[in-house]
């Protein structure tokens, strides 16, 4: 997909996020719309997969490590045709295939359970080793949050991925700067992220995670890199991106809106990068 089409697609993904959050009148709205751009680039530019056959052996694997952000992934998967769009209306409800925290037993296209934070990169190490052993050229994409980087096993995995030169891993960190107890910088400062991942032998890029063109370039670079290293793309995102009045909300980790707020959110919802 071309840049202009991707911008349109990201707009649709944001609309899906809003629609799903409205079911319970609250949720991970700010992160969901903030992650819409890089998820759009993943599903419509970077990854190979077959929507009708989510377990296709040749697919690129996508691991949502921070399962709380399932809302954004479902929103993108519905656009990608992996799940029917009308099913988004069941998000978080009883007997739904779309639980609030993602699990493979529930949802086609979900590879791992992401509720317990910090497991994505460690599992990716095993999958990447396995893919190399099988001679597959499939890649493992891992979506993490910046708050998640406080989890020790992330760094066990980073050390291993660097040591085993797993250049079939492309990790994306959604650096949105917020977590349950407040700003990431005040809860536990995870910076300097570039230096940290470089020290663990990663090929590191840090970009504006809401810029479709920057994301496209970063994916191209990661794929083309001749370095025998795992790749990480540090995506600085703005929580609430696309819904101006939500940006900067101190409670943006888990937002509740009243009826008026919903009307305003839809009215103000914007396209991303112009």
């Amino acid at each position: 997909m071309k840049k202009e089409e991707l911008i349109e697609k990201a707009f649709e993904v944001r609309k899906n996020v809003l629609k799903m959050a409205q079911i319970d009148k609250k949720g991970f709205i700010a992160q969901g719309v903030g992650a819409a751009d890089f998820l759009t680039v993943l599903y419509f530019y970077a990854m190979k997969y077959r929507p009708e056959d989510p377990k296709w052996e040749g697919r690129d694997r996508f691991l949502l490590s921070a399962g709380h952000n399932a809302i954004a992934v479902y929103a993108a998967m519905a656009e990608a045709g992996i799940i029917p769009k009308e099913e988004l209306d069941t998000y978080g409800l009883d007997n739904s295939r779309l639980p609030m925290s993602s699990m493979p037993a529930y949802t086609p296209g979900i590879e791992i359970s992401g509720g317990s934070i910090g497991l994505g990169l460690p599992i990716a190490v095993g999958m990447a080793l396995g893919l190399k052993k099988k001679g597959s050229d499939a890649r493992v994409y891992v979506m993490m949050g910046d708050g998640e980087l406080a989890e020790g096993p992330v760094w066990e995995a980073a050390m291993s991925a660097g040591s085993y030169k797993l250049n079939n891993i492309i990790a994306l960190v959604d650096v949105n700067g917020i977590q349950a107890d407040g700003k990431t910088s005040t809860v536990l400062d995870t910076e300097p992220l570039t230096d940290k991942f470089k020290a663990f032998n990663f090929y590191v890029q840090r970009i504006d995670g809401n810029s479709i063109s920057a994301l496209m370039t970063a994916i191209d670079n990661a794929k083309a890199s001749a370095e025998e290293k795992p790749s990480v793309i540090l995506c600085d995102t703005v929580p609430g991106k696309g819904i101006p009045f939500l940006i900067g909300d101190p409670k943006s980790h888990f937002i509740s809106l009243n009826d008026e707020g919903w009307v305003r959110a839809y009215q103000e919802l914007e396209r991303g990068e112009n």
Binding site: A105, S113, I123, G126, K134
Partner: protein, 328 residues
Amino acid sequence: MGKPGIQSVISDSNIENNHPTADAPFGRTLIELAKENDKIVGLSADLAKYTDIHVFRDAYPDRFYNVGMSEQLLMCAAGGLAKEGFIPFATTYASFIARRCYDFISQAICEHNSNVKIIGGLPGLQSGYGPSHQATDDLAILGAMPNLMIIDPCDAVEVAQATRAMAEYDGPVYMRLLRGNRVPMVLDRYDYKFELGKAKVLREGNDALMISTGLMTMRCLDAAEILEQDNIHVAVLHVPTIKPLDQETILNEVKKSGRLVITAENHTIVGGLGSLVASLLMDEKVSCDLKKIALPDQYLAAGTLEALQDTYGVSTKAIIRQVRDWVK
């Protein structure tokens, strides 16, 4: 005099009671299995040499991954390899598996019924290093994990048979490992074949029924022979699969007569075989006199194994002492 007890503190062997021994039965069986099935891979967290998987590593270096001292990663990477269709055997010490890796085994392996085999060295009281290395609580902890099969083998013969059986079984398994170059062999003298989920009577006797698991079965068999000389006749029911428990065989044996029932395990008295048997008997309204041989609910001392096992009541001698007191 040399340094006291160094050999037995380190416990690179379980040699006792002068049984014949075998070298690294787990690792050697894994090599045989790997010849037959190219999906088998091995992993360890810097303890290959001490969990007998080093022989597999040397035979199949391109199918072995050392992840360093990263036990949480070990479990997740094994889960990832299983997702890609491999049959990973992941080894470290049992205390780290049970205490450090619980969430990772749960979320990366057992929730998805992934085909990972987890092998834990130094189960129960098999190290004199103190509580850090004494996995006295692994059966209780891991027993709460849905989908996880748990095996506590008796000797080298059973370690080999169980390794083969778990490779053929599609699902997560935890096995307590008896390791080293002198792992005792006992069961070859009995008409015995390991089967997943099956408990088996190894010896008949009318005075007491010992229901035992792991290397305690070897000690119970040795104790039973000596007790025979005192005219105390002890039956031994071996329960190598802790989960799922062979409830039918246990109930049938307990119901057979008014024998004293004694459970024996290399594990804390909390939440292991003794607790499972007691709970089963109560659930099924089967009444009997029940005694438990197990480690106490304490952090155990450091020291030499022989002395520790005797102090805490799980040595062959201690079993004989307790049974004599109870049967009198």
